[in-house]
């Protein structure tokens, strides 16, 4: 499986562009939805147009004010969040944020979350035709919103239905984002494929909670929240590995990536590109550092293109 095109020691430039079912990225590192706002919040820290893509905060049909506070809690090597999809709604996003991002040359992926199949479809239709959107990520796995969230992502039938409905309304690549809170992620991935998904995004957060032993109640106002960060990395890698083996769709993989070494693990496990979420909070420049780190790894290993790395550790 080892591929080395160069004489040892001679480093030449490597190709780090990727194509995920029609979603073309200049490099394989994106920032995950809900962890990078609209990108603009991080402009002081890095050139956001140099990131593979910015997946914007989960967008809904109507504006949402989100959950009460506390919304976050730190856990060992991780954090819980129950933001509750606070966002100004798809119309405001398209009018206010998208033009600014487009002007800055940012590759934008819109993450959408609906309460019904129709809502997903309507949002996709609204997004269609707006210049500057590179792909749609379907949040069918957000564990925080009662009526949407968990249900969609945990049943193969509804996953297929949502993807189909969205595909009908858009010419953009569609990436359903899979929930890890399922018995059989491969089954869900296959349903997404059957619905016409162009690529898969995985994983969203694990459903978790924390308890305040002084107050004797849950820490989060919402009781449950999504667990993210390095704590979940082993679970994310396992699910990506399983899906890569069984399903023939490109994978945008993430969950706990904190370094380029972590990112390489994901690519070796089967991801074509990686997403960075919680890591942005710890190091706002992480996305671009990971791009550099992947480039260096390829050079050191004498691998010409990041695309060759995908799935290299998978034992077929």
């Amino acid at each position: 499986m080892q591929s080395s095109f160069n004489k040892a020691g001679v480093k030449e430039d490597v190709d780090i562009s990727v194509d995920l079912g029609g979603l073309k990225l200049k490099n394989p590192v994106v920032v995950a939805s809900g962890t990078f706002g609209y990108g603009l919040e991080y402009e002081d820290f890095l050139d956001i147009s140099a990131i593979g893509a910015v997946i914007v905060k989960g967008t809904t049909l109507e504006p949402r004010s989100g959950n009460p506070s506390p919304r976050i809690a730190e856990t060992p090597a991780g954090m819980l969040n129950a933001i509750g999809l606070e966002n100004p709604g798809v119309d405001v996003f398209l009018k206010e944020y998208l033009p600014r991002l487009r002007d800055k040359g940012v590759t934008v992926i819109v993450n959408i979350a609906g309460n019904t199949v129709e809502e997903y479809a309507r949002m996709a239709a609204k997004i269609e035709g707006n210049e500057g959107v590179a792909a749609i990520e379907l949040n069918i796995s957000c564990p925080n919103v009662k009526k949407g969230g968990l249900q969609f992502g945990t049943h193969p039938d509804t996953v297929k239905e949502v993807v189909e409905a969205v595909k009908k309304e858009t010419s953009l690549p569609v990436l359903p984002k899979l929930s890890p809170n399922v018995t059989d992620v491969v089954e869900i991935a296959k349903a997404a494929q059957a619905g016409g998904a162009d690529a898969l995004s995985m994983i969203n957060t694990l459903l978790g909670m924390a308890i305040d032993i002084k107050k004797k109640k849950p820490v989060l106002a919402n009781i449950f929240g999504g667990l993210s960060g390095p704590a979940i990395k082993p679970v994310a890698l396992r699910m990506i590995y399983q899906v890569y083996k069984e399903v023939d769709l490109p994978i945008l993989g993430g969950g706990g990536i904190m370094s380029s070494e972590d990112a390489v693990e994901f690519i070796l496990a089967g991801a074509s590109a990686v997403s960075i979420g919680t890591g942005n909070f710890v190091n706002p420049r992480l996305a671009l550092e990971v791009v550099e780190g992947i480039r260096n790894y390829l050079q050191e290993e004498n691998i010409r293109s990041v695309r060759e790395l995908t799935g290299m550790a998978v034992i077929k």
Binding site: D44, S65, A77, E86
Partner: protein, 259 residues
């Protein structure tokens, strides 16, 4: 402009049992920060604890390009911070948030409780520089915890202290000092930072006396820059939307909120 800096520690002192001050050379932050803003500090080098810790800018030496933080050890993160030695570097993001508003030549009253004194010291320095007349009410558990006393004294502000146990100044709450007999006749603006019950009393006093003011709030934070929407808070119970303490605050106008 907010940035990421490796702050070189040039001073790190234990001031009282759980109180420390740490001075860092961080020229970009030092040159652009304002009172009331904070820095987001990476503590320890591992993934536990994972998130940064927000700490107010306690003092600034613009010439040296250094900032000083005052912190109280309350958990694992602050405990780890105590281990950092002089000459080591700390990874800090800042300056973050919206600081205090401050006009020239005003009579200002600053009311701080416990480690809430931190942003008020830097504010006091800035106010003096702007020609303000500055009165500070400073409360703590006991004499030994009046850790900012010396720094405030050197700033030549009018300083009154209260301690719970009466070991220095007034015995009782710092809010007890909110009384005409202790205060200058004219106050244009009130600033406060400390435990919320204390700030509620300060706000009440300000309102009763028709004085505008600002408070500095705390919420648990992840990003510190308005991206994660984690530090949400309703300023008034009936508000439809949540402000983000990290970006819309941490300083808020007293009249836009209920405490």
């Amino acid at each position: 402009m907010p940035t990421l800096e490796k702050g070189l520690v040039i001073l790190h002192n234990r001031l009282a049992r759980d109180f420390y001050e740490i001075e860092l050379v961080a020229p970009l932050i030092a040159s652009s920060c304002k009172p009331g803003q904070f820095v987001h500090v990476k503590v320890g080098g591992t993934m536990d604890p994972l998130l940064r810790r927000p700490l107010s800018i306690y003092d600034v030496d613009k010439k040296l390009g250094s900032i000083t933080l005052l912190y109280k050890v309350v958990g694992r993160g602050t405990e780890l911070l105590t281990r950092v030695g002089v000459k080591e570097n700390i990874d800090i993001m800042g300056p973050l948030g919206r600081g205090f508003s401050l006009a020239d030549n005003q009579h200002v009253l600053l009311v701080g409780g416990g480690v809430g004194i931190a942003p008020l010291v830097y504010l006091a320095r800035a106010a003096k520089e702007k020609g303000c007349q500055v009165t500070v009410l400073y409360g703590a558990e006991k004499r030994g915890e009046l850790v900012a006393f010396e720094r405030l004294r050197k700033l030549e502000v009018d300083l009154m202290v209260a301690t719970r146990d009466g070991s220095a100044g007034h015995k009782g709450l710092v809010a007890d000092l909110l009384h005409p007999k202790f205060l200058p006749p004219k106050i244009d603006f009130i600033y406060t930072c400390g435990p919320e019950p204390m700030m509620a009393l300060v706000k009440k006093y300000a309102e009763e006396n028709g004085i505008p003011g600002e408070v500095s709030l705390e919420e648990h934070m992840a990003c510190g820059v308005g991206a994660c929407l984690g530090c949400a808070r309703k300023l008034k119970p009936d508000d439809e939307y949540y402000v983000k303490v990290c970006k819309d605050g941490p300083v808020f106008r007293m009249d836009e909120m209920v405490l």
